[in-house]
């Protein structure tokens, strides 16, 4: 790869040195324009970041409610995506994002502490990775999971060996 190219402009919103061409920034993806092309981040990417950031927190058993979890895994399998964003809703604007999460928590963790950690983790990851400002993270704790119960939903039904 060439290292002599003068393409040193970064897609930073605050650089006043390069005349940013104002192209039509349509679509729901967050977008930044530089004079050498645009950068866009799909909403699904923001949702996946939120999902992964939440799952990094100890005490989170899994994301999604009981129904959305089962449905989400089926849909995920049909669509061939290895990571589902079940239980995650995002609204992405030009510079800001809002996140809604549904999750189950491991017993006997403090639900409020887990929720607060999830909020911090989600905000930190989305802001550092996308530059979007996270205005709110709404968390719904839909279930409590007891030790040894975590993988119950994944168990086979015993019909095939």
């Amino acid at each position: 790869m060439s290292d002599t190219e003068p393409t040193t402009t970064r897609p930073s919103a605050k650089t006043g040195t390069s005349p940013a061409t104002t192209s039509s920034g349509g679509g729901s993806a967050s977008q930044l324009v530089s004079d050498r092309g645009t950068t866009s981040i799909a909403d699904g990417v923001v949702a996946k970041i939120a999902s992964l950031a939440a799952q990094e927190v100890r005490g989170v058993a899994k994301l999604g409610g009981a129904v959305s979890g089962a449905l989400g895994s089926v849909v995920g399998r049909l669509r061939g995506s290895e990571h589902s964003t079940a239980g995650v809703g995002v609204e992405v604007g030009e510079r800001q994002a809002a996140v809604d999460l549904a999750m189950s928590v491991e017993y006997p963790a403090s639900i409020h502490q887990v929720a607060e950690s999830v909020r911090e983790s989600v905000i930190d990851r989305i802001e550092s990775m996308t530059g979007l400002q996270v205005v709110e993270v709404n968390i719904a704790v839909t279930d409590l999971v007891f030790p040894g119960q975590e993988d119950e939903g994944k168990q086979d039904t015993g019909r095939v060996s």
């Binding site: 190219e5 897609p11 050498r36 950068t39 981040i41 996946k48 992964l52 990571h83 996308t130």
Partner: protein, 115 residues
């Protein structure tokens, strides 16, 4: 345009190779039904689309790894692709614009199929 310019599929091939070499890029995204691709010479380059013009522009639809700043990653991809095209694709691509679309994300550990 000068005759030295590469064909669309060659341009896409150069761009794909350059983008794939950037750390953090784990693959290309060809859309829900595989509609994002460049065709030519019996080949199909996924996740790359060319828009002719002067200067021409090229769009890269990427699958990226979880963790780093996506804007830094996009800047690195833009620099790598623009540099490679300016060097190898002909004089028409000296000022190519590179639109980087972060289309999907992959968690660490789940390796994606490379190009």
């Amino acid at each position: 345009m000068a005759t030295a310019d590469a064909s669309p599929v060659e341009v896409a091939q150069i761009a794909a190779a350059a983008a794939a070499g950037v750390p953090g890029v784990v693959g290309f995204h060809s859309g829900t039904v595989g509609e994002i691709a460049t065709y030519g010479g019996g080949r199909r380059i996924e996740g790359i689309r060319l828009r002719p013009g002067s200067p021409p522009s090229i769009a890269a639809y990427l699958v990226v790894a979880y963790g780093q700043s996506l804007h830094d990653l996009a800047a690195a991809v833009r620099q790598a692709v623009a540099g490679a095209l300016a060097e190898h694709a002909g004089p028409g691509f000296a000022l190519v614009a590179v639109d980087v679309h972060i289309a999907d994300l992959r968690a660490a550990g789940t390796q994606g199929a490379g190009p």
